[in-house]
C-alpha cells in the first residue's frame, strides 16, 4: 500500500496546521500538532473517521505529545474522536499527554473518561502488538 503517498496527500494544510495520518502495522496513527486550531481538530476527526470507515485498521493511536494546551473544547474533541472510533469497533489509545497539560486538565476538573491512555507512542504501539 502506498501509504507514504497517501499520508502525504492527507498532510493537507488547514488553518496552517497539518495533522499527519500514517498507518503503522495496521494501526492508524494520528499525530496532533502543537498549536491545534479548532478547524484543525474538526478536520482531524473527519480525516480519521474517513480512514477508519474503510475498515482496514485494527487500531487507532492518537499521539498528543505535541499538544501544549488542551482546553475544554479540545479535550472534548479528543474524547469524541476516541469514543467515535471505539463505536466503529476500532480500539483507540491516546498517548503522550504532557504532564503540564494533564495537570491543567485535572485542576479544571476535565477528564478523558472512557479513553484508554498510555504514556508514550512506543507503549501505544506495543499495546497493539500484544493482542
Amino acid at each position: 500500500m502506498p501509504d507514504s503517498a497517501r499520508s502525504r496527500s492527507l498532510l493537507e494544510k488547514h488553518g496552517g496546521q497539518a495533522s499527519p495520518l500514517v498507518t503503522i502495522d495496521g494501526v492508524l496513527l494520528a499525530t496532533i500538532q502543537e498549536s491545534l486550531s479548532d478547524a484543525g481538530v474538526r478536520r482531524l476527526r473527519t480525516d480519521v473517521g474517513a480512514r477508519l470507515a474503510v475498515g482496514a485498521h485494527r487500531g487507532l493511536v492518537v499521539d498528543a505529545s505535541g499538544v501544549d494546551t488542551m482546553d475544554s473544547f479540545i479535550t472534548r474533541s479528543l474524547r469524541d474522536l476516541a469514543v467515535g472510533a471505539k463505536l466503529m469497533g476500532v480500539r483507540t489509545i491516546v498517548c503522550g499527554l504532557r504532564p503540564d497539560v494533564v495537570d491543567a486538565l485535572v485542576e479544571m476538573g476535565l477528564d478523558l473518561v472512557g479513553v484508554e491512555t498510555v504514556t508514550t507512542l512506543d507503549r501505544a504501539l506495543a499495546a497493539f502488538r500484544e493482542v
Partner: protein
Amino acid sequence: MRSRALSSQEAGTTETYRQLQAIIGRHLSALTVGSLLGQALDRAGLSASALQRADLVTLLPLLERGARLFMRSQADVDEALQAVRRLMSTDRGRSSPPARGSAFPRARASSSERAPAASSVRPAPDAVAKGEPRLELSPPVVVLIRAEEDIVKARVEARRLAESLGASSTVQTHLATMVSELARNIVLYAGAKGTLALAALAPPAVGVSITARDQGAGILNLAEVFSGTYRSRQGMGLGLRGVRKLASYFEIDTAPGKGTTVRAQLRM
C-alpha cells in the same frame, strides 16, 4: 547644538519626551519604546506633546514597571532608570502642571479597554492595598478575538508573556488554557466580537491578569453555569468553571444584552 529635522512621529513631542525615547531606545526597539512610553504616559495622565522634566517624578515608577517587563536584564533596567534620574536632576527649575487628557496617539482595541484610572496618577507600588485584584501594568498585549484562529493567537501571546515573567511551564500551560477557554467563549457565544487583554501584574505581585471582554448577549444563566448543572453543547459550563478553578482571582460581569467581561488573574 545639533539641529535636525524632526520626523513626523517626533513632531509635536517635547524635548523631554525625545530624551526619554533616546534613553529607553538604547535598550529596546523603537516600537517597544513607543508602546512603553505611551502606556506610562497614559497611566500618568500625561502626554508626549506636553511632557516636562518636572513630570518625570510622576512617570518614573511607571517607566520602571515597563522597563522591568520589557528589558532583558536588571542591569539594563538600572542603567535606563539612572539615565532618567540624571535627566530629572539636570533641570529642577522648570515646572509645569502635567497635561490632562492624553493627546498621545496609540492603537487601542476599544475606548473602553482602558482602565478607568487612566487620567489620574497611579499610586506608588508600595501604597497599594493587599488583595487589591486589579493591579496591573497597562495591558501590553491585546488580542482581538474575531475568528477561531485568534484563539491560537491568544494562547501563543499568553505563553510568551508568562515565559517572559519567568513562569514555569506548568504555569504557562495553566495560563494558556485559561486564555484559550475565554477566547473560545468569545468566538462561540459572543459572535466573535471581543478582546482578550493580558498584562503583567504590578510588583510585588508576580503573575498575569487576563481580561476577556465581549459585546455578546451576556450569560443569562450564570448561576447554573457555575453550579455545574448546566452544560452547553460545546461544554461552556465546564470551560468557565475550569478557568475559575485555575485562577487565583476570578470575576465575571455580565448582563443580558450587555456583553460579558471576565477578569482573572494567575499568580505565580
